[in-house]
């Protein structure tokens, strides 16, 4: 009813609801919303059965022009690699290419300078835009929320659904907000902010929700850091996360390959500026995180919520009031080969990994290089840098960062998901301990028996040099 729509428009509205409403095709009889997908990005490990399904049912790709494919998960990251380098990956890589060609979908394969991790190239190429709705068969699609886009991670059936219909049928997420208040201390990055929020609120806090990150600390973050923050919305249990667009966002998007240009851009920017939450907008769930209390974060367990400051200790499970949490923490500490009460600082590491959709952008590599410059990786440590995209790699090489890392004893590899998901050859050996800039510290995540500590790029770099987890604020790594 038009009257209802007008009064609804006058209501204070969240940024999320404004964008969602703009994508609403219709509300279905079962109460779910059918929303239009502006951009669909495919990756090779979750799309092949979707194309099989399309062919079986003789359907076509409805909007190939809004669909883009890349190869990132199972690609080799060996320097100078090609599509054949990882024999195990050939089948899925070939299928991504042949399916894209058959349906006239643009593909940025390993031979293309625009290749990279889906969540890195989306913003980098201007495929993800503020206020757009983007789907991808990967849970970390929430990353593009850093631009003020709605990034919806889906499974393979929904990839097929988007290919066939250019829509998703979803329960409308509820509004949640996390406000970061107070001053961020030295050495504390977006990675530390989101890890702290996950530790404080828990990994299921965002279930069924769209999370808006707000507060002065967030406004001060450059876009790349906002992408890191929104990336881990899924580790908060949320459907998606976003930072409302502002001038920082608009300047980031300007000039990108697939972004609007000229008059189109100015028209778009005017609209993006309106995509903020109204002052009186209601959030069903609203939380505050105190930035002043955050030190560089490191996980000690096997869930992202098992996290503490580097200046803290591995907790005693007995200290958890909740019996379930107590059991999980005890099992996690056992799996990680740690002891309750031991200091996190000083835990020796075997592998240091800088990469993944969480922390593999140019600013991440620059932060790590600042720590590494003129130093050497500890003798017993294998240290790797895997840029998030081929264009990040080229930009870093133009700045000489590859030399800094190589001179220090880091491997400088080609772009891909690599040791975060470990479906290619980049695996942490069983029992080995890896400090990583990734997003999941689950048991066996980086390979069977692997142990993972999540941290920021600078913290991982400092640990690689020291051979143990170290507090970069003390200058031990600098």
């Amino acid at each position: 009813m038009p009257g209802d729509r007008l009064s609804a428009a006058a209501e204070p509205t969240t940024a999320f609801d404004k964008i969602w409403n703009a994508h609403l095709v219709k509300t279905l009889d079962d109460g779910r919303d059918l929303v239009f997908v502006d951009r669909h990005i495919l990756q090779e490990t979750t799309s092949a059965p979707a194309f099989d399904g399309l062919e079986r049912s003789r359907r076509r790709v409805r909007h190939p022009e809004l669909t883009v494919a890349t190869q990132d998960h199972i690609v080799s990251t060996e320097p100078g690699r090609d599509e054949r380098s990882n024999p195990v990956g050939r089948e899925l890589l070939d299928l991504m290419r042949s399916n894209s060609d058959a349906h006239r979908i643009r593909i940025f394969g390993v031979d293309d300078p625009r290749q990279g991790i889906v969540h890195v190239i989306g913003p980098e190429l201007g495929l993800a835009l503020p206020g757009c709705l983007l789907a991808c068969g990967d849970s970390h699609t929430s990353t593009v929320g850093g631009l003020g886009a709605l990034g919806i991670g889906v499974g393979t059936s929904e990839v097929e659904h988007v290919l066939a219909t250019q829509t998703l049928a979803l329960t409308r997420p509820r509004n949640m907000r996390v406000r970061f208040e107070g001053t961020v201390g030295p050495g504390v990055t977006a990675k530390d902010l989101i890890l702290r929020a996950i530790g404080q609120l828990g990994i299921a806090a965002g279930q069924g929700c769209a999370v808006e990150y707000a507060g002065d600390a967030i406004r001060a973050l450059p876009v790349e850091a906002r992408l890191t923050l929104c990336n881990m919305s899924i580790e908060l249990g949320a459907r998606l996360g976003l930072v409302a667009p502002d001038e920082t966002t608009i300047e980031y998007v300007r000039g990108r390959e697939f972004a609007p240009a000229g008059r189109d851009f100015e028209q778009a920017a005017a609209e993006w500026r309106s995509l903020t939450s109204d002052a009186a907008a209601r959030f069903e769930r609203d939380f505050v995180v105190d930035c002043a209390a955050i030190s560089p974060q490191v996980t000690w367990g096997t869930s992202p919520q098992d996290v503490a400051g580097v200046d803290e200790c591995v907790p005693d499970p007995a200290g958890f009031g909740d019996a379930k949490r107590r059991d999980l923490a005890a099992a996690a500490i056992r799996y990680m080969g740690l002891e309750p009460g031991m200091k996190i600082e000083g835990i020796p590491i075997d592998v240091a990994f800088i990469g993944s959709c969480t922390n593999s952008r140019l600013a991440d590599l620059e932060a790590a290089a600042t720590i590494v410059r003129g130093r050497r990786v500890a003798g017993h440590v294998r240290a790797l840098v895997v840029p998030g995209s081929t264009s990040v790699r080229h930009a870093a090489e133009a700045l000489g960062l590859d030399r800094i890392f190589r001179d220090a004893g880091f491997e400088w590899r080609d772009a891909g998901c690599s040791m975060c998901v470990s479906v290619n050859e980049d695996v942490v050996p069983s029992g080995a301990r890896c400090i990583a800039t990734t997003n999941r510290n689950f048991e066996n995540r980086q390979g069977p028996g692997s142990r993972t500590h999540l941290a920021s790029p600078a913290m991982v770099a400092a640990a690689a040099i020291a051979g143990r987890i170290t507090d970069l604020r003390k200058g031990s790594g600098t």
Binding site: V25, K26, L28, D29, D30, G31, L34, F36, T46, A48, R59, H63, P64, E65, L66, V88, G89, E91, L92, L95, R104, I105, R106, G126, G137, D138, S139, G153, V154, G155, T156, S157, E158, H161, A164, T165, Q166, T167, A169, L170, I203, A204, Q207, G237, A238, F258, P260, D264, Q267, A268, L328, V421, V423, S430, R440, F442, E443, N444, R445, P448
Partner: protein, 213 residues
């Protein structure tokens, strides 16, 4: 169309853990080819030792649970990765229904699209059902009745579960989601045409004329 699903009668196995993630349900080693034996890979890291042999202490390696059709788990089941292979692994193993106090969002959606019933139970029912499996360890046969929204134990005790009514009806009919959506194809194209008229910049630069057929 998929075959409709109205319920299942069979062995219930218990995974008495919160936050069971999809990496645990199907480890990445099984994600390297298009058509892996996902049923074999179900809970692979816990089910098999480093030598590839079954670990006898793992629940699904023990009789009668190796023929389980119903899985009982604690809260936030299926968190983590969006990998739909987690659902395929459960289904190919023979699990038709997962009961838990809560599910992670993407796993929940993936399950419905594969005819796997994911039903929410309250915390008290979770404990009572786990205890019932314990008591009837040799013959833990439960009846899941989707239209009634109940699960009944070997001793006749009945517990309600929650599935949104429209989702339950779609499962019972065996609706194909894509078919259902394509009934709205006219609305979708009308939306797209309107959006292209008011937001031409959103679609500028995306045409695929440059891509060779």
């Amino acid at each position: 169309m998929r075959p409709g699903f109205a319920g299942v009668t069979g062995v219930m196995a218990v995974m008495p853990l919160a936050n069971v993630n999809t990496d645990a349900i199907i480890p990445s080693a099984w994600l390297r080819t298009a058509r892996a034996d996902f049923g074999k890979g179900l809970f692979g890291s816990q089910r098999y030792g480093a030598d590839g042999r079954e670990r006898p202490e793992f629940v699904l390696n023990r009789a009668p649970f190796r023929h389980a059709k119903i899985l009982l788990a604690d809260e936030n089941f299926g968190c983590g990765s969006s990998r739909e292979a987690a659902v395929w692994a459960l289904a190919q193993f023979g699990i038709r229904c997962v009961l838990a106090p809560s599910f992670a969002d993407i796993f929940y959606e993936n399950a419905f699209r594969n005819g796997l019933l994911v039903a929410k139970i309250d915390a008290a029912s979770y404990l009572a059902l786990a205890a019932a499996v314990d008591r009837h360890g040799q013959d833990p046969i439960f009846i899941v009745d989707l239209p009634a929204g109940t699960v009944t134990g070997p001793d006749g005790a009945r517990f309600p579960f929650a599935v949104p009514a429209a989702r339950a009806a779609a499962l019972i009919r065996g609706d194909d989601e894509i078919d259902m959506t394509l009934h709205h194809a006219g609305d979708i194209e009308a939306y797209h045409a309107a959006a292209a008229a008011t937001h031409p910049w959103l679609y500028a630069g995306t045409d695929t004329a440059e891509i060779a057929p």
